[in-house]
């Protein structure tokens, strides 16, 4: 560097610039300083919180988790009673959040895709109707929609003693939808396992079929065979076990229906509200994805004689998905996070359960930390999975 400078008549240039002129060293100094500041601020916040909590004699720590919760929860996937611990109560809440999110995401993708495709329909009425749906649902706050659906459920349906009975064994009332399920029988687990085995076998059959098609050009109807086997084989098991038909039919005893399976109005309202709201966004994403595929691609595919279904499956979707997946991921995350509005309509999600816990123990910081941790975990898992899928769907350059 100094070689290029004209010789100076004054003090000779030092061979190395001082460290505050050296860009590299300066960067290191800045980073160390920044790290120190962040460290100090975090330490200050932490010690300040600790000192304040101590001064106001507010209890800290997670020791309360194995104490008795002593409150009931409306619905639960796992066994739970008021005598269980806070930890178990939190698990119930987390599973309830997971339940509504998973079912919600699946339904949202299906409904959103249908409406997105309908939006592109050449039928004027269909495309206008789906445009209307998208505009209306996107622009009403989701909390209002939840209140609306919940009010419909508890205002429109009759009390349990006058429950509607549209089909035998299914009851509709303001306590939810209650329907009969087959009584537990030894055949059921076996049928489940057979079903699973068929699915796995079908996966390998499909791979083999593709390989054969690549080699010989002959196609193999692997999907149809798998579908048929998935229905027939478990059915055969059922017949072998003597075709048990006993049903667990709900019956009105006391205040409520006993037996069967109940889908509560809170769960239904939350699911419906979230799915209808989010699917409007998904529909727009799907439409954008499909429209991103050039018209020429479709015309070319039709020109070589592919049927419309195959055009969609082989040409349009693989390319559209690359556009769809990243924004779709963020909508799935939105749905999961919005599920925490459950507390407004009485669904026992993770936030609702944690709030009760905070109020009983007074430990708000720990409770809120738990809420953040659980939602972070759900969100990161979704992101990880979708990123993996995105990578898989990426354009493979040949």
């Amino acid at each position: 560097m100094s070689d290029n400078l004209p010789p100076s008549t004054e003090a000779p240039m030092p061979s190395k610039p001082p460290f505050w002129r050296d860009e590299e060293k300066r960067a290191i100094v800045f980073q160390v300083v920044a790290l120190l500041v962040v460290g100090l601020v975090s330490y200050y916040l932490y010690s300040n919180t600790q000192a304040n909590l101590e001064r106001q004699s507010i209890a800290t720590g997670f020791g309360f988790l194995d104490k008795e919760a002593s409150f009931e929860i409306g619905e639960s996937i796992i066994e739970y009673s008021a005598a269980d611990t806070y930890l178990r109560a939190l698990a119930v809440g987390a599973l309830n959040t997971l339940k509504v999110s998973l079912i919600g995401v699946v339904l949202t993708i299906i409904l959103g895709t249908l409406i997105g495709i309908a939006r592109l329909s050449s039928n004027w009425l269909i495309s206008r109707l789906s445009a209307l749906y998208i505009e209306v649902m996107q622009n009403i706050p989701v909390l209002l929609q939840l209140f609306f659906w919940y009010a419909i459920f508890y205002e429109a349906f009759p009390p349990p003693r006058q429950a509607l009975n549209p089909i035998d064994g299914v009851f509709l009332c303001n306590r939810g939808m209650i329907f009969g399920v087959p009584e537990a029988h030894a055949a059921h687990p076996v049928m489940g396992w057979v079903f699973l085995v068929v699915l796995i076998a079908g996966y390998f059959l499909n791979r083999w079929g593709h390989k054969r098609q690549d080699l010989t050009g002959q196609s193999f109807p692997a999907l149809r065979i798998t579908a048929a086997a998935a229905i027939l084989l478990p059915g055969l098991v059922w017949l072998l076990y003597g075709a048990p038909t006993a049903m667990d039919i709900p019956a009105l005893r006391g205040f409520n229906f006993q037996g069967g399976v109940t889908v509560s109005p809170e769960f239904s309202a939350l699911l419906l509200g979230l799915v209808i709201y989010t699917s409007a966004f998904v529909a727009e994403i799907v439409r954008a994805g499909i429209q991103s595929v050039g018209k020429g691609q479709i015309e070319a595919a039709m020109a070589i004689g592919l049927r419309p279904g195959k055009v969609l499956q082989l040409v349009v979707l693989p390319q559209a998905l690359r556009v769809i997946i990243p924004p779709l991921t963020s909508q799935m995350l939105n749905l999961t996070k919005n599920s925490s509005l459950a507390i407004a309509i009485g669904y026992a999600d993770f936030v609702a359960v944690t709030n009760t816990m905070i109020n009983q123990t007074g430990q708000a910081i720990e409770g809120v930390a738990l809420i953040m941790l659980v939602f972070l975990f759900f969100s990161l898992s979704t992101s990880l999975f979708m990123n993996w899928y995105n990578k898989k769907m990426k354009l493979v350059e040949r």
Binding site: R55, S70, E72, A82, G254, I343, A352, N359, G362
Partner: protein
């Protein structure tokens, strides 16, 4: 030069502030603001709820007004923060409000773990159940398998669970955060029964589409002493709030009302003279104006007046005095001597 001037002003101001800072920090902050920020319910008729004109009314609201009258000599120097059951203690801890008068039950764990102190109880309550009359239920013990509407974050939720467990009954809770949304849900028949403090049930019934359709069951399953609360750390402020509530009771014991308080100033009774500050001493001891108790009674009334005005038999709630009568009438309201 400008900077030096500014510095000088700042230093002087700081010194002045230090000079005044002899009282506790909460009382200081309240005096400096010129009003009390009170956390109230916002949705329970008779205890804390704005009326049709937006004026805050209720027993808890009057308690806050009494404290303002004691400190400022003006009962209107209160600003209200409506709080849900879940927010209330955090709001007090964080300093968002100075005083919590929001039908909060005094319990050991709240007093020890939440960093707050409860003062004298201003309403003795108990948890009850309300059912629609056409359900045909006459006792809470018949509620096995019932769907129960309950507010989250209250002792109520736990009491109900305890009651059903002890009696070997099953309950399906429906837990909704907002008081009014919960009431709507109950009136629509989503739940068989709603549980809360009996006074709140009376308030809920008062806003029902047809109040006579609902019945409060006889069993009270818990003790709910509802008391105002302040933060730890300012004993003087605690004393003032505590003795303001007691002053309401004491005035009723002495037969002093908002109507006759001016005549009572001329009373020859030394107890009354001390209470109303004719004989000085109490005000100085609390760090207040000697007329503080006079101002409270003149502007807010005694406990009996406050009770009858907000929740008594002639209001929509129609509550009897019961446990909240004076000790001389078989109730629990009892004030220590004001000397």
């Amino acid at each position: 030069m400008k900077f030096v001037k500014l510095m000088a002003v700042a230093v002087c101001a700081t010194m002045l502030m230090v000079g005044f800072a002899h009282a506790g920090k909460d009382l200081d902050a309240v005096k400096k603001k010129g009003y009390i920020q009170a956390g109230v319910n916002g949705g329970v008729f008779g205890f804390g709820m704005p009326d049709e004109k937006g004026v805050w009314k209720g027993l808890d609201v009057d308690t806050a007004r009494a404290v303002a009258a004691a400190i400022f000599g003006d009962a209107d120097k209160v600003k209200y923060t409506p709080l849900t059951a879940q927010q209330r203690f955090t709001a007090l801890q964080s300093g968002e409000i100075d005083l919590l008068t929001r039908n909060a039950t005094r319990t050991l764990s709240r007093e020890t773990q939440l960093g707050l102190n409860f003062v004298q109880v201003n309403y003795y309550d108990g948890q009850g159940f309300m059912v629609p009359k056409n359900l045909g239920v006459k006792s809470a013990k018949e509620l096995d398998g019932a769907t129960v509407c309950v507010l989250p974050g209250t002792t109520t939720e736990q009491n109900a669970a305890d009651f059903f467990r002890t009696n070997n009954m099953k309950m399906n809770p429906v837990v909704i955060e907002s008081t009014s949304e919960l009431a709507k849900t109950f009136f629509a028949g989503r739940c068989d029964v709603i549980t809360s403090d009996a006074s709140q049930l009376a308030g809920t019934r008062a806003i029902a589409p047809k109040p006579s359709d609902y019945e409060i069951l006889p069993e009270l399953i818990s003790k709910e002493p509802l008391a105002p609360a302040v933060r730890h750390g300012d004993d003087q402020f605690f004393d003032i709030v505590n003795f303001t509530v007691l002053a309401l009771i004491n005035a009723e014991e002495l037969g002093i009302t908002s109507k006759n308080v001016d005549e009572m100033l001329k009373s020859k009774n030394p107890v009354i003279q001390r209470f109303l500050g004719v004989t000085e001493g109490n005000g100085k001891a609390l760090g207040l104006d000697e007329k503080w108790a006079y101002n409270v009674i003149k502007q807010v009334g005694n406990y009996g007046e406050v009770f009858e005005r907000n929740v008594g038999v002639n209001t929509k709630l129609g509550l009897e005095r019961g446990l909240n009568a004076l000790w001389t009438d078989g109730g629990l309201m009892y004030a220590p001597p004001f000397k």
